[in-house]
């Protein structure tokens, strides 16, 4: 498999709307009004409703970032699994944010005699004020053969 370590993808841009945050909170079964009600969010010190902690990965997914890597490797997504995910938080993502992200491939390695290939990427997200929002580290596992 082609070694993509060092490859950096063009910046992507994703707008975060209130409705998206609410449907995400619905899907994870969290009924906290913080994710739905601007006044509750304001009382908690947020400019608008914040997104739950794992939402940043969906921002990268919305921009199809993990799929770009798989396309470059010629791998079908049904043969892949999410191995690990990390978030380092700097600022909350809130409704109204327009996030810019960049993804790069930082590591690739085989396991189980080549039956599995691990691809590690890093993605940084910043908001419309160019403030760092969060960094993501993603490990995708490809089942070969």
């Amino acid at each position: 498999m082609q070694n993509l370590v060092g490859r950096e993808y063009p910046p992507f841009c994703v707008a975060v709307e209130r409705r998206w945050i609410r449907t995400f909170a619905d899907a994870i079964g969290d009924d906290d009004p913080l994710y739905r009600d601007r006044q509750v969010a304001a009382a908690a010190g947020y400019a608008d409703v914040p997104a739950p902690p794992t939402f940043g990965f969906s921002v990268a997914m919305e921009a199809a970032q993990p799929l770009l890597v798989l396309a470059d490797l010629g791998v079908d997504k049904t043969r892949t699994m999410h191995g690990e995910q990390s978030f380092a938080y700097e600022r909350p993502i809130v409704a109204g944010d327009v996030l810019t992200g960049t993804q790069k491939v930082v590591d690739m390695y085989d396991r189980k005699g080549g039956a599995l290939t691990f691809v590690v990427t890093q993605t940084t997200l910043a908001n419309q004020r160019e403030e760092r929002v969060c960094d993501l580290r993603t490990v995708i596992v490809i089942r070969n053969g």
Partner: protein, 154 residues
């Protein structure tokens, strides 16, 4: 063990609770999150909300073609449940890092429980922080996901 204290604050409204650094010790558990069994509808809703187009979470045929026994739960949905265990314990803005390793697959109908335990207390970047070891298990107690979070406490 400060567990009774943690349980009591977890029952308070989310905006009112306040877990302090002095209230906790390494070894303390955070309140577990128990949720209803994962349904196929929830997987479909999460696929849309999380912008995850992978058919292995909604289409049994596609999952089997990919070598799986059938559709599987999104790892990120299970991780989101761990996130809920954290945010029902402390305000979300106190989260500094949150990581998870997906160790086993979950399937529709599984009942997932998200739990955590404080492993260390420290002072870092001028604030009090705790490391929390996190895990999600299914109804048979099999570990689905292992995680770790760093949380600032006042």
């Amino acid at each position: 063990m400060a567990e009774p204290v943690l349980e009591r604050v977890a029952d308070a409204p989310k905006t009112a609770r306040r877990v302090g650094f002095a209230d906790v010790e390494a070894g303390d558990s955070i309140p577990s999150l128990v949720v209803p069994p994962v349904s196929r509808l929830q997987l479909a809703l999460f696929a849309g909300a999380a912008a995850d187009p992978n058919p292995i979470h909604v289409d049994d045929e596609a999952a089997r073609a990919g070598g799986l026994p059938g559709v599987i739960v999104h790892g990120m949905l299970t991780m989101a449940l761990l996130g809920r265990a954290l945010t029902q314990w402390v305000p979300q803005r106190q989260l500094r890092t949150f990581s998870a390793r997906f160790v086993a697959m979950a399937f529709p109908g599984d009942t997932i429980t998200a739990s955590g335990r404080i492993t260390a207390k420290s002072v870092c970047d001028g604030e009090n922080r705790v490391d929390v070891e996190l895990f999600a298990v299914n109804q048979r107690g099999e570990r689905l996901l292992q995680g770790v979070a760093t949380v600032a406490l006042p």
